[in-house]
């Protein structure tokens, strides 16, 4: 019994195939999904999604969204998703540094919130590469 995983972004379908297991980071912590999991709906935080495929773990950086799991069908809807292998390490590191600089420069509540989000996204991308 394998799970059918579908990762969708507004632009395109990032992943659509069968997997053995996934580890998802949600607002309330990381959860692992194995076949025949009970149906749940959960919000997905900005974090890493780990997919186990043929005994190999693939990482993907997700930028927040929503996931629905039911009857061995997982649908993850996110704003943006990037496979770890598709991210350029140099560029991700640079983005992280820029985001940190922006955060220290941010003034006002709204800018701080936005800078924080940007920082988390950049950090997730860097982590996705280092985890491989």
């Amino acid at each position: 019994m394998t799970l059918n995983l579908c990762v969708l972004t507004p632009n395109r379908i990032v992943w659509d195939s069968e997997v053995k297991e996934i580890i998802l980071s949600t607002n309330s912590g990381q959860i692992g999904i194995l076949p025949n999991h009970a149906p749940i709906a959960t919000a997905v935080d900005i974090g890493i999604l780990r997919i186990c495929l043929n005994d190999q773990w693939i990482t993907m950086a997700l930028m927040g969204g929503f996931a629905r799991i039911g009857n061995n069908e997982i649908t993850i809807l996110v704003n943006d998703a990037e496979k770890g292998s598709d991210i350029d390490p140099q560029e991700a590191q640079q983005t992280l540094e820029i985001a940190e600089a922006n955060l220290s420069k941010a003034e006002g509540k709204r800018q701080t919130i936005e800078a924080n989000l940007a920082l988390r996204r950049a950090r997730t991308r860097v982590e996705a590469i280092t985890m491989i």
């Binding site: 579908c6 969708l8 972004t9 507004p10 632009n11 395109r12 379908i13 949600t26 607002n27 309330s28 959860i31 009970a38 149906p39 749940i40 709906a41 959960t42 919000a43 997905v44 927040g64 969204g65 929503f66 629905r68 039911g70 009857n71 649908t75 809807l77 996110v78 704003n79 943006d80 709204r110 936005e114």
Partner: protein, 372 residues
């Protein structure tokens, strides 16, 4: 040989005489026996030969450019349409889940900030235009639609603010000295999730902080390659039936403003949606929420907003490309026609000049011979 030519010599010698004296006077629109071509009646060409040649060259270059622009637009339209199609699975899945969750939440009393229907005092209008010109009346149409909407709102006594996306709209509104909130320069040639996110964040914060009570989107809906419609779509608040009333009555323009509008091919997708819904119906009663339903909805609303805005951006891009393709195609056709007219005039002028020179030579030779 010469006898037969003599009858027309007087005409042509006059011509050649005149042209010799003043090369910039007009030549060939005098009625020649076989000039029944309409071009000689419609367009009177008042140039000398050299100028005609230059004009023909210029028009040839212009035609090459417009033809190239048309082909480029045609190629990019296909990409834009593909982008719209690629975004469909996301919207479908999202819509379905929202629906399911809404159903389950109706028993509980959840307060979702984005569906708050408040009496409207201020409206935010997001106007999506293009970045470049040469697209016929496209940008103008959108701006006019936005202007009529603003006048309507003013008549209703409501305040409004404009968020402009796209360089053409930006330059227009900048000159107008209206109260604008933000001006976005469209980032790049293709609308990405980041652009949509920037707009969505702005709109979201405006709505949630109750600075505005209603957010509307003005963009060009892509109907077909030749036709596109500027439409007004209410983005927030999300209401189950799509009818948002202000202090007086219906605020939304008359169009298909359903809760979940999916794609351009309405008919086709409605059918699909129904069938998909029935397939998943069995799941909904079993669905458990990992977190608070409020948190989950909090996560889904921005997704929904993003996808709506992104879709509007993509459709607007497709409409702009279609308009540009049509405009450039018309321009190419006009250039071809103009070139034909000018070429005919040029050839007539050239031939008249040659004939004149020939006749002068012949006449001179005749005269010399007679003297002998």
């Amino acid at each position: 040989m010469w006898v037969s030519a003599k009858s027309s010599i007087s005409n042509i010698s006059l011509l050649s005489f005149r042209s010799h004296q003043n090369p910039f006077l007009s030549l060939p629109h005098i009625s020649l026996p076989h000039s029944h071509s309409q071009s000689s009646q419609k367009t009177q060409v008042y140039c000398g030969i050299r100028e005609l040649r230059e004009r023909i060259d210029t028009i040839k270059n212009t035609q090459k450019i417009t033809e190239a622009m048309k082909l480029v637009s045609a190629a990019r339209i296909r990409r834009a349409q593909e982008a719209v199609i690629n975004g469909r699975p996301f919207s479908e899945a999202l819509v379905e889940m929202l629906y399911n969750i809404n159903e389950q939440l109706q028993v509980e009393d959840i307060d979702v900030p984005l569906t708050n229907v408040r009496p409207v005092k201020k409206v935010a209008i997001v106007v999506i235009t293009g970045d470049r010109g040469l697209c016929g009346g496209f940008n103008n149409l959108i701006i006019k639609k936005a202007e009529t909407r603003m006048a309507e709102l003013k008549n209703l006594g409501l305040d409004f603010t404009v968020i402009s996306v796209g360089k053409k709209g930006n330059s227009y509104f900048r000159r107008r000295d209206d109260a604008l909130v933000d001006r976005f320069i469209e980032g790049g040639t293709f609308p990405t999730t980041k652009d949509a996110q920037a707009i969505a964040d702005d709109v979201f914060s405006l709505f949630v902080t109750e600075e505005v009570d209603k957010v509307e989107l003005v963009y060009a809906k892509f109907v077909s390659l030749i036709k596109s419609d500027p439409v007004i779509h209410t983005l927030l608040p999300l209401s189950p039936r799509g009818v948002v009333s202000d202090v007086n009555g219906k605020c939304v323009d008359a169009m298909e403003d359903e809760f979940f509008r999916l794609t351009t091919k309405e008919g086709k997708l409605v059918v699909e949606r129904d069938s998909v819904r029935t397939k998943r119906e069995a799941l909904s009663p079993l669905l458990q929420f990992e977190q608070d339903p409020v948190q989950i909805l909090d996560a889904m609303m921005p997704l929904y907003l993003n996808s709506q805005i992104l879709r509007a951006l993509q459709e607007s891009l497709a409409s702009e490309l279609a308009a540009r393709m049509n405009a450039m195609s018309n321009a190419s056709d006009n250039a071809v026609e103009l070139k034909k007219t000018l070429s005919m005039a040029y050839n007539r002028a050239r031939q008249a000049k040659i004939t004149g020179e020939l006749l002068e030579i012949v006449a001179g030779a005749e005269a010399l011979r007679q003297l002998d």
